[in-house]
Amino acid sequence: MDTINLTEKTDWAFIEEVKNESGQNPSLCYQCGNCTAGCPYTQYFDYPVSMVMRLLQAGQKETILTSKAIWLCATCETCTTRCPCEVDVAHIMDTLRIIARREGKVSEKDIQLFYDSFLDSMKKHGRIFEMGILMGYKFKSGQFMGDAELGPKVMSKGKISLFPKTIKGADKVAQIFNRFQEKAKKHG
């Protein structure tokens, strides 16, 4: 395992921010590694989840927020379920993604793009229009050929609609988005 160079100074404000927003206490982690042992994604992470916890204790803001690990976490909740210190690790990972987004430091642009296509579709129609998400993602990512072979498969089964279905209250859903964005702006 690589040694982490703790060149950044401990960012105490960052630790507080994560504590407040997640409602979790990272100091409770005693580095047993149970979370990493159970993490199905650990081989794809740049920092195993227990190391993310250690980096958090050391206030290594930049390293954490620009890590791939926080975006490759699928919130499968295995870490949270198994943590002997009852730290809701998955919720901390969630909080780290939120902060990374807010600070424009997302390392996994494709994942963010996919999530954004999903949310765009939801804002527009009130429900998810699968075809729209896929096309939106392909258009923005430039990856037109990804999963191309799946198209005919789903089409032949009559499972995917070519046209969006917009609910009556789509504007009410869009208002949730708008109110949130206004609030976020106000609070900077």
């Binding site: 699928a74 999963d147 072979e149």
Partner: protein, 322 residues
């Protein structure tokens, strides 16, 4: 049977790539005398993408639907989709424990949510409210060739504080439901191991590899079918099975069937109304059905044929002893 009624949230996937989950669940619930009522004009729960944006925002998208359920005067909502379930359960959990959070969420909504709705997976309703005896009583057909690995996915019983259902490490509800329906189940070690979740589009190869492990484990355990309860698991394991084969150099051809479809088959419903034609890897070769009576007759004949053999053997053994 007294008719039960629940508010029912199918979710967006069940209107598209998981249509057969909706169709089979409705058919099975009807057969079991359960009435499902959809909240009028429900919206997307927000799922995984919303909770990468903000906790309050994500809870509001989920809670809009819970408000609709409150207006129906229902206190239990059932959803077949684990991702919707988790969105509702987390909103409920956090809003009912934190007044300030509740206030912030309601600040984003047109109509406030008063925390009066408990959400349960449709598996939980079938297992706990309908119960194993009623599940068995309705069985008309047996599928003698079928050996099913029940695959729960990550979040049906996790995290335990929020899920409040079954065991977080070794869930058994689906095993018991299928067994009660006369279906042979095969225990396997990857019941809850993640299939790759929502990363299929941006991280295809990673998802293929994770799904491949689940398929491998089920096949190695001797199963010829995997039962699922999640639209995303189904998609990753079935629609992407050919991709898995290409990515990992394997040659899987194992049907991935919603547990509700299997129940429906045991209840004698037609494959068509259960959407059996909508899965990619066909289950036709493992879902041959015979009536319960026929099956019992065959079993009785087998047992009768064994008896004289056993008696003969015992007699022979006695002779040698003498």
């Amino acid at each position: 049977m007294a008719e039960k009624e629940y508010a029912y949230f199918s979710g967006c996937s069940l209107e598209g790539t998981a249509k057969e989950y909706d169709e089979s669940l409705r058919a099975v619930m009807k057969a079991l005398g359960v009435n499902l009522v959809e909240p009028d004009d429900w919206s997307c729960c927000g799922s995984t993408p919303a909770h990468t944006v903000d906790h309050v925002f994500a809870a509001a998208l989920a809670a809009r639907n819970l408000t609709l359920v409150e207006k129906m005067n229902k206190d239990v909502l059932t959803t077949p989709c684990p991702s919707c379930l988790m969105a509702f359960k987390k909103a409920q959990y956090n809003m009912s424990r934190d007044e300030a959070f509740k206030g912030e969420v309601n600040g984003l909504l047109d109509e406030a949510y008063n925390c009066g709705v408990e959400s349960k997976s449709s598996l939980q309703i079938i297992y706990e409210d309908i119960g194993l005896d009623a599940i068995t009583a309705r069985v008309t057909h047996i599928m003698p060739d079928l050996k099913v690995a029940p695959y729960y996915g990550c979040i049906l019983s996790r995290p335990p504080d929020i899920a409040q259902f079954d065991d977080p490490e070794n869930p058994v509800s689906m095993d018991k439901v299928l067994t009660a329906a006369g279906i042979q189940v095969q225990d396997f070690a990857f019941k809850m191991e993640c299939c790759g979740a929502a990363f299929g589009v941006p991280k295809r190869e990673m998802v293929n590899r994770l799904s491949g492990k689940v398929l491998e484990m089920a096949v190695d355990a001797g199963a010829n079918c995997i039962a699922v309860a999640c639209p995303l698991c189904q998609q990753n394991l079935d629609l992407r099975q050919e991709q898995v084969n290409k990515t990992t150099g394997s040659n899987y051809n194992i049907p991935i069937i919603y547990f509700t479809q299997l129940l429906g088959l045991a209840y004698g419903l037609s494959p068509k109304e259960l959407g059996m034609d909508k899965v990619i890897v066909s289950a036709d070769s493992v879902t041959r059905r015979i009536t319960r009576e026929e099956y019992e007759k065959i079993k009785a004949e087998e047992a009768a044929a064994k008896k004289p053999q056993k008696a003969k053997k015992e007699a022979a053994a006695e002779e040698t002893n003498n």
